[in-house]
Amino acid sequence: MPKNKELILQVKDIHKSFGDKEVLKGISFEVHKGETKVIIGPSGMGKSTLLRCINQLTIPDKGTIWLRGQEVNHHNARQINQFRQKIGMVFQDFNLFDHLNAVSNVEIALIKVKGMKKQEARDKAMSELQKVGLVKQAFLYPAELSGGQKQRVSIARALAMDPEVMLFDEPTSALDPELIGEVLGVMQKLAQEGMTMVVVTHEMGFARSVADEIIFLERGRILESGPPEKLFYQPEYERTRKFLFKLTELYGDIKGYHKR
């Protein structure tokens, strides 16, 4: 791990229960500048909950989140709003604002949250759409976009806030197979350009080629983590090996991603 790099995000001992079901039982990890962490794990094991705890859409029962050495105080609504601006989030089902066209989706938070002037926000939004290859679709509404285009708009919307770190919650799992590549392509480019990212995904080709570290979440704990080569070829636990084997079976050869 690049220990000399700046520390961006610290997740310390996060616990979360729903009713008497303890979903997260103490999760800790750190993300340095420019790193991409991929989180994998069986369904219903709390991966989404963990991402939501990071940007406080779900308030953890215990544990703390630190951004650039500053602890997030969830009692202070104002601070949370400022903090969320620095953490981009991309959802599985896009959550584009249905009543706004693509460019307005990207610019609305610039105007309403950052207080940018309309023209300045429009320029910024257009340049973000350009990054994800959607300038031509700028004035189309979500209902007029394909799933892959929607997800790219939602990535542009998050990027427009100039976040320190981006969280992706299964960004491709609601997409038809032929649309997955365009979204992964955008994410890969982001990673190469040095964006700090935490990605929940089962796309092992992506994980393999982009991740600095894979975190395997099971039963509310990190069972194992490490660079892709280690998890794929020398996992400590039989569980990890089996799970990764099943994923590659399901989602295709780990090198398959490059062929797309």
Binding site: Q85, F97, I108, A158
Partner: protein
């Protein structure tokens, strides 16, 4: 054999003032009623326990009691508490209270039909809850509430005739006075009926145009 003189020289001049009063009543009641309805609906859905309870009680009370009783309380009842309202003001307040309660229910339903992911995405961008409600939820919910609220606005135009019961002489009241003086009930109320019909048709047309203007792609099929 139609008595044109009666229509031209007596009925129409008398109705003219009443008509203007009706217009004045609805022009005050409709927008304020809508705004109050939005506030009550938002309070009901997003308020804390106390606010939400208050808003629910408001809706239950003003939807659950006859408008005529509300008007009587406002005009004849309040003076016993030392509050004197003019017939016009009592009527407008009554109409606002009643229509806002109905609007609030339509808008509440529309708010709850907006996908929860919309507000999550807004908050994830750093929007405060209030800003997310104002900028993301309400623009979608209000569009969805237009058909219901249109109904209520049309009802309001018609039940504005109840203002006559608290001595505010609007269209119906003006007609009633002429009708009983000249004993010409059929002619007068036919004319008044046609005027209401024209007014209601005009307003529904305008509301339809508004609905179409505010539609966006992907929206049409939700109507």
């Amino acid at each position: 054999m139609i008595n044109w003189q009666f229509f031209l020289e007596i009925l129409f001049p008398a109705l003219q003032e009443g008509f203007l009063m009706t217009i004045k009543l609805v022009c005050w009641s409709i927008p304020i009623g809508l705004v109050v309805g939005i506030v009550i609906a938002v309070g009901r859905v997003y308020g804390n326990i106390i606010v939400s309870f208050f808003c629910k009680a408001y809706i239950v009370f003003f939807r659950g009691t006859p408008l005529l009783i509300q008007l009587f309380i406002l005009y004849y009842g309040l003076p016993s508490l030392g509050i004197y309202l003019s017939p016009f003001v009592a009527s407008v307040i009554g109409f606002i209270l009643c229509s806002s309660a109905y609007h609030a229910e339509y808008i509440r339903g529309a708010i709850q039909s907006v996908k929860s992911g919309q507000i999550l995405a807004a908050q994830a961008l750093g929007m405060s809850k209030i800003s997310a409600v104002l900028n993301i939820v309400l623009p979608q919910a209000l569009r969805r509430a237009i058909p219901g609220c249109s109904n209520e606005i049309i009802y309001l135009i018609k039940y504005s005739s109840l203002a006559f019961m608290v001595t505010c002489i609007e269209l119906t009241g003006a007609g009633k006075i002429v009708a009983s003086r000249y004993f010409a009930y059929t002619e007068v109320f036919l004319v008044i009926g046609v005027i209401y019909l024209a007014l209601v048709s005009l307003v529904s047309k305008l509301l339809n145009i508004l609905e179409d203007r505010l539609a966006f792609p992907g929206w049409e099929n939700k109507k």
